[in-house]
Subunit: 132 residues, 4 copies
C-alpha cells in the first residue's frame, strides 16, 4: 500500500488552499510509505528555511507513524525520547507532520508543512492528510 | 527576478506530459534563482534513486547557469573541471538539468529531470524549461 | 576479544523472541568491539525511523561501554554531558542500548533495540545481551 | 509488494552458505522496496570497509531496479552516467548488488554483497536473490 502521485497532488492542492485561506505561505511535502519524497511545493514568499523542515516533518511522521507533535512531547528534556532528533539525518518533532491513511486505515505516506506557527502548520497538514 | 510557484507548476505539468508522451516515468524538480527547491514530483513507478538525481541536476544547472551535460564534458578525466561533482554536497553533471529563463532572458531557476536515458531526461527538462 | 557472527545471531534470535513475547515490533542491531555493525534485523511492521535509532543505540552503548540510558541522564540540560549527542555522527542516549560481555566480563560488542517504549526497548536489548 | 523479514533472512542464509562454499567472507545486506535496510550480517573476518559497500550496493540495486554492475558500465568516464555515484549519499556501481523479485516478477527489495572479488560478490548476491 503506497501513495500515488495523483493522491499526493490532491493533498498538496487541498493543503495549499487551506494555507491561502488562513493567509499563510507554506512549504508542503508529501512522502510515500518508504519515507521518500513524492511531491513538494514552496509557496511564493514562504520561509526558505522551512523547505527542509517540511520535508523532515513528513519523513518524521512516517518514520514513527504518528503526528510529529506527539513525538516532540516525548523528546523534551527529562522525557523518554530526549535527543531523538539526532537520528535519521535529523528529525523535526514539533507539529506540522501528519501520517496519511487510505480508506482501509493503512498508512500510505505522510505530509509535512512548515511556514507559519506550529498550530497553522499542523492545521494545513491535517487538512491535506484528510483530503483522501 | 525569481521563478514563481505558478511558473514552476506549469513547467512540471508540461514536463510530465512530455514524459508520458515518450513513455517514461520521471522525477522532476524545479529550483529557484537561489538554487532552492520550489516544486517536485515523482511519477508512479519512477526510479527511487532518481529522486535525488533530479534535484541535484536542477541545482547543478542553476549553480553554473548552463545545461548539466555541458559541465559533464568539462569534468571528464583530464579535463579542466575533473572532480567538480565533489562540491556543493554532490553535483550531477550528465544531461537532464536545464536553466529556466524568463521572457527577458534572465535566468530565474532551473529544472532537473531523471528517470530514463540521459537523452530522454534532457528532452523532458528542455520541454519543461521552454514552457514559460 | 570480539563478538562472533554466531553470537550476534543468537542475540538477535533471543531478542526477537522476547520482542514477540511482549507483542512489539523491533529493529535490533548488534555491533562488535569496534562499534561496527555485525548483524541487524527489522521486524515486519516495525517503525522505519527506528532502523537508524537501533544502530545508533548499539554504537552509543559500545562507544562508552554503558547502557545508553545512563548516558542520557548525564546529557540532560544542566548536566555534564549536555549535547553529547552531536558527536560521532549522532548518538542516541535514551534506553535500548546495552553492552555485550563475554563469560570473562570483557565487553565484546553491544546491542541496540528500537520500536516500542524505551522500557520495552531496554528489556529486549537486555534479554539479547544476556543470551551469551 | 514488499519483502518480509522471513524472506530476507532466507536470502541471507542462502547467500552465506554460498559465501562459505566458495571460501569467502562476506558482508550481506538486504533492503526493502523503499531501499531501507531489513537484514544484515557481517561474517567473521570479513573486510570492515565492505560493511558500508554491501549496504550501498543493495540500495543502489533498488534505487535503479538493476544489477549494480550494469550501472557501473554506464558511469565510466565518457559514458552517459559518469559521476552518478555522487547522488543518494553515495552509490556503489560495481557488481554485487541485485534486485529481489517475487514470484509475480515484482521487485520487492535488493541484496548487496561485498567482501571478495566483484565476481564472487555478484555470485553470492545472485544466489541470495534467487532464493525466493
Amino acid at each position: 500500500m503506497n501513495i500515488t502521485l495523483v493522491q499526493a497532488e490532491k493533498i498538496i492542492t487541498i493543503a495549499k488552499e487551506k494555507a491561502i485561506a488562513i493567509d499563510t505561505k507554506m512549504n508542503i511535502a508529501v512522502v510515500d510509505a518508504g519515507a521518500n519524497l513524492v511531491a513538494f511545493v514552496r509557496m511564493d514568499g514562504a520561509w526558505l528555511g522551512s523547505l527542509d523542515i517540511a520535508i523532515k516533518k513528513a519523513k518524521t511522521a512516517r518514520f514513527f507513524d504518528m503526528n510529529t507533535g506527539s513525538i516532540g512531547e516525548l523528546s523534551q528534556p527529562g522525557q523518554p525520547l530526549f535527543g531523538i532528533e539526532h537520528s535519521n539525518h535529523g528529525l523535526i518533532t514539533f507539529p506540522g507532520g501528519v501520517p496519511i491513511k487510505n480508506a482501509a486505515g493503512d498508512i500510505i505516506g505522510a505530509v509535512g508543512v512548515s511556514g507559519s506557527s506550529v498550530e497553522n502548520d499542523h492545521a494545513v497538514a491535517e487538512t491535506g492528510a484528510s483530503a483522501i
